[in-house]
């Protein structure tokens, strides 16, 4: 096993999915400032009147879960989430 180069996870099931990724689109209520873009795991931010769209590719479901938790903790209202 070559760990030094690949940094593989011997317990398995911990693939960060650099190859595949999870295309994802999240619609938030209200208009979110551009300043917050760096906090959204690389998703890009587009404002529409009364709502904000985050779109792009996340690593996997668990990153999506972390992001949704964070939006929730920040008091942002999620209108819809679409993946794939």
């Amino acid at each position: 096993m070559s760990i030094r180069t690949g940094d593989a996870h011997p317990s398995g099931g911990h693939d960060h999915g650099h190859m595949t990724g999870l295309p994802c689109r999240i619609l938030l209520e209200g208009e979110v400032s551009d300043r917050f873009e760096p906090a959204f795991h690389g998703l890009s931010l587009h404002r529409h009147p009364g709502c904000t769209e985050l779109s792009g590719t996340l690593a996997d479901q668990s990153q999506l879960q972390r992001l949704l938790n964070r939006l929730f903790d920040l008091g942002m209202q999620v209108i819809s989430v679409r993946t794939g």
């Binding site: 940094d7 011997p10 208009e31 008091g75 942002m76």
Partner: protein, 735 residues
């Protein structure tokens, strides 16, 4: 920490909510009272108001849960400690049972806790605050059972951001659930007015209050935000218009407008301390590198900005949840390079204070491999010994940044966690990682890395027994002191026993037992195998004494035996069988089998199953004995180099009566060859052994087995045999 077990101090400006308090009181007749809403809806404030209002008539046991509490042992320890402040008997017998059998909470611990709570008659409310942080199946399943069996006088209240994984649907349908959700927690227009009065902002018109209520949906944290901003406005009317008309996010207001109202020094204090779940003066001094943080905290509290006190003596505070998240976000956006250093300083402060678990959380957040290594390895043995394996596993799972996965010493910690869960294959993969490190490097325990890897191989047996034996011999030769020699000899004893050298094993194990100090799992490993040797040599009473001493030592230390330590129970089970105490033996061995089955196929599991088969055969349960033996053989088929254990299985098979030879009725179903293979399967032979008996290759046997399984509609050996017995293809009972 004391502040975990008391209600937070009530904020001065809190608006009284008598109707909600009544609803909470009515919850007494329900199984569960649930307060569920997003952050900033005043869940904590409401519950604190209740605790203060009813302090004269009702006693409140309070637990504020943290990220690390999704560990069943921690969770129940806090819960019992909170109850013990009200009911003196709580925990006297149940807490030791929790330490001994962390995997049997519902069966062992809960009945004792229930008994303890029967004593004492006063009404009691148990509040579990921020339950979403502990919500995971190992915590929730026993909690559901606790809630359903609780004594009448106890009311259980959960505050949480999201629905817990409890049987809410069933309770709701039975009228057993009292729920207060965001829609009930929202302030009405009248309450909004009262809030601003109490915050010291007066003179808002009815219309303005109405606009603010609609704009904020009565969300208390957002009103707090509006209050902070209003204080610095010259024209309040204009501000209310703009605020009410805006679609900007709360977080946006917090990170820009609100932060502009404070001085640069306070701003940098707020951002720097936002990484802390709880704040106190000395901690904030250490993290921000400033002085007088305690005064700053008092100042912020007095100004109703951002924080509220956790205790009455003004030592510990916490941020309002929404504010903390917004501050952390602002820190990440504007000064991301500071985050790691802040966590590192928090880590070092907690380490100095002796709170190693909090220190570890910050070390992980800092992504500091060196600190994580030092802290985790220092706590590994104590936490494993006290049944907190789940905490270790949670930490290790979060160590995933580049480089940390290949850290040799942390890999030994991961191997230990896997091995203690009876997952030798996974332990082996991590030991391969650890073995890539320089053999002679000293670990934080002060032993050469190579010695440590060899020792763990001899404990957890990831590959063949003979390769583990080689590792054990190296470890004995290189042991850097008597304690370490004792450990290595315990591993060597295990390997020798499993290679069929009982005398050599006994010699190593006897010396090991004179050297091992303190580590109860290691003591139990050596005692377990020595007990097996004594059994084999016809001294079951001596065997029982040896094994029981190790089991008792663990019990009196309220320590859980896991992984290698389970061997003491195995040895005790065998000693009980040999003395004809078969019910006790069946119990004990069944317990061992259950623990090992939760992991991956291991030599420990196969061996325990053979001993269980022996016990059941003595008790006249040939059918159940055969089942255990079949399972043992299935397990042995899946592990490399199983040493002498297949021979133990074969000997066991010889002791079971041979199955009958009725061969009819199935001709049209199974071919003659398949029928023969089926009969051989029933004797418990492994695939390799069947192939040898029939003079064919294992692959040919595999083909016959597959065809047989298919015709019988079975997926496993046990299913096939069961089905064959149902069909009369095999005798139902021996003879």
């Amino acid at each position: 920490m004391r502040s975990k077990l008391q209600p937070p101090t009530l904020p001065r400006e809190s608006v009284p909510r008598p109707r909600l308090l009544d609803e909470l009181r009515w919850g007494k007749s329900s199984a569960l009272t649930l307060v569920c809403a997003p952050p900033g809806y005043g869940k904590t404030t409401l519950l604190s108001q209740w605790a203060e209002a009813d302090a004269g008539t009702t006693r409140f046991a309070w637990v504020t849960l943290d990220e690390g509490d999704a560990d069943p042992v921690r969770f129940w320890t806090y819960l019992v400690s909170a109850l013990a402040t009200m009911t003196a008997s709580a925990g006297r017998r149940s807490l030791p049972a929790l330490g001994r059998h962390p995997e049997r909470i519902t069966a062992e611990f809960l009945p004792l806790l229930m008994e303890e709570l029967e004593e004492g008659g006063q009404d009691l409310v148990l509040v579990l605050e921020d339950y979403h942080r502990a919500d995971c199946p190992p915590v929730t399943e026993p909690l559901a059972s606790f809630i359903e069996r609780r004594p009448q006088r106890l009311q259980v209240v959960l505050s949480t951001r999201s629905d817990p994984h409890l049987p809410l649907g069933r309770w709701r349908a039975n009228g057993q659930l009292t729920e207060i959700r965001a829609d009930r927690l929202q302030f009405s227009e009248r309450e909004v007015g009262e809030f601003f009065d109490r915050t010291g902002i007066d003179g808002l018109s009815r219309a303005e209050l109405g606009q603010l209520t609609v704009r904020t949906d009565g969300w208390p944290s957002v009103l707090r935000l509006a209050a902070i901003l209003l204080r610095s406005q010259s024209d309040r009317g204009e501000f209310v218009q703009a605020f009410a008309g805006s679609t900007r996010q709360v977080a946006d207001y917090l990170t820009t407008d609100v932060l502009q109202t404070v001085s640069p020094a306070i701003r940098s204090f707020l951002l720097g301390t936002s990484v802390l779940p709880r704040l106190c003066g000395p901690l904030c001094d250490a993290v921000t590198g400033t002085e007088h943080s305690a005064a700053t905290l008092r100042e912020l509290d007095r100004a109703n900005l951002f924080i509220s006190p956790l205790d009455g003596d003004g030592r510990w505070y916490r941020y309002h949840q929404l504010f903390a998240e917004a501050l952390r976000l602002e820190l990440e956006i504007t000064e991301p390079h500071l985050v790691s250093g802040l966590h590192t300083r928090a880590c070092l402060w907690f380490e100095r204070e002796g709170d190693l678990e909090s220190a570890t959380e910050h070390a992980i957040a800092a992504h500091d491999t060196g600190l994580c290594r030092r802290l985790i390895l220092r706590q590994l043995q104590p936490l494993v010994g006290s049944g907190h394996l789940a905490t270790i596993e949670r930490w290790l799972a979060r160590l995933s940044w580049p480089g940390v996965l290949s850290d040799p010493e942390l890999a030994t910690a991961r191997a230990t966690a896997a091995g203690q869960r009876s997952r030798p294959d996974e332990a082996g993969r991590w030991l391969d990682v650890a073995a890539e490190g320089p053999r002679d490097d000293l670990t934080s325990a002060g032993v050469p890395l190579g010695y440590g890897v060899d020792l763990l191989r001899s404990f957890f047996l990831p590959g063949s027994i003979s390769s583990a034996h080689e590792a054990a011999r190296r470890a004995v030769a290189e042991a850097p002191g008597p304690l370490w020699r004792g450990a290595a000899l315990a591993g060597l004893g295990q390997c020798r026993y499993l290679l069929g050298d009982p005398d050599g094993a006994a010699e190593a194990l006897r010396e090991a037992l004179t050297l091992i100090r303190g580590d109860l799992n290691m003591l139990a490993l050596a005692s377990g195998y020595l007990a097996l040797v004594e059994c084999d040599q016809g001294n079951p009473r001596q065997a029982e004494r040896i094994a029981r001493r190790a089991v008792d030592a663990a019990e009196s230390a309220e320590s859980a035996l896991s992984g290698i330590g389970v061997m003491a129970h195995t040895g005790l089970g065998a000693a009980l069988t040999a003395q004809g105490r078969l019910a006790e033996a069946d119990d004990r061995l069944g317990f061992v089998v259950g623990l090992h089955k939760a992991g991956s196929p291991s030599i420990w599991l196969a061996h325990a199953l053979i001993l269980l088969a022996d016990c059941r055969n003595h008790a006249g349960g040939a059918e159940r004995a055969r089942e255990a033996l079949e399972e043992a053989t299935d397990t042995l088929d899946q592990i490399p180099g199983p040493g002498i254990v297949p021979e133990l299985a074969a000997a066991m098979r010889g002791r079971l009566l041979a199955p009958g030879r009725r061969a009819a009725a199935y001709g049209q179903e199974l071919s003659e060859r398949e029928a023969v293979v089926l009969r051989l399967l029933a004797t418990g032979l492994s695939l390799r052994e069947i192939a040898a008996q029939l003079y064919v290759s294992p692959n040919t046997v595999k083909t016959h087995i597959r065809a047989t399984y298919r015709k019988l509609g079975a997926g496993t050996r046990a299913q096939a045999l069961h089905r064959a017995r149902d069909l009369g293809l095999l005798p139902r009972s021996p003879g």
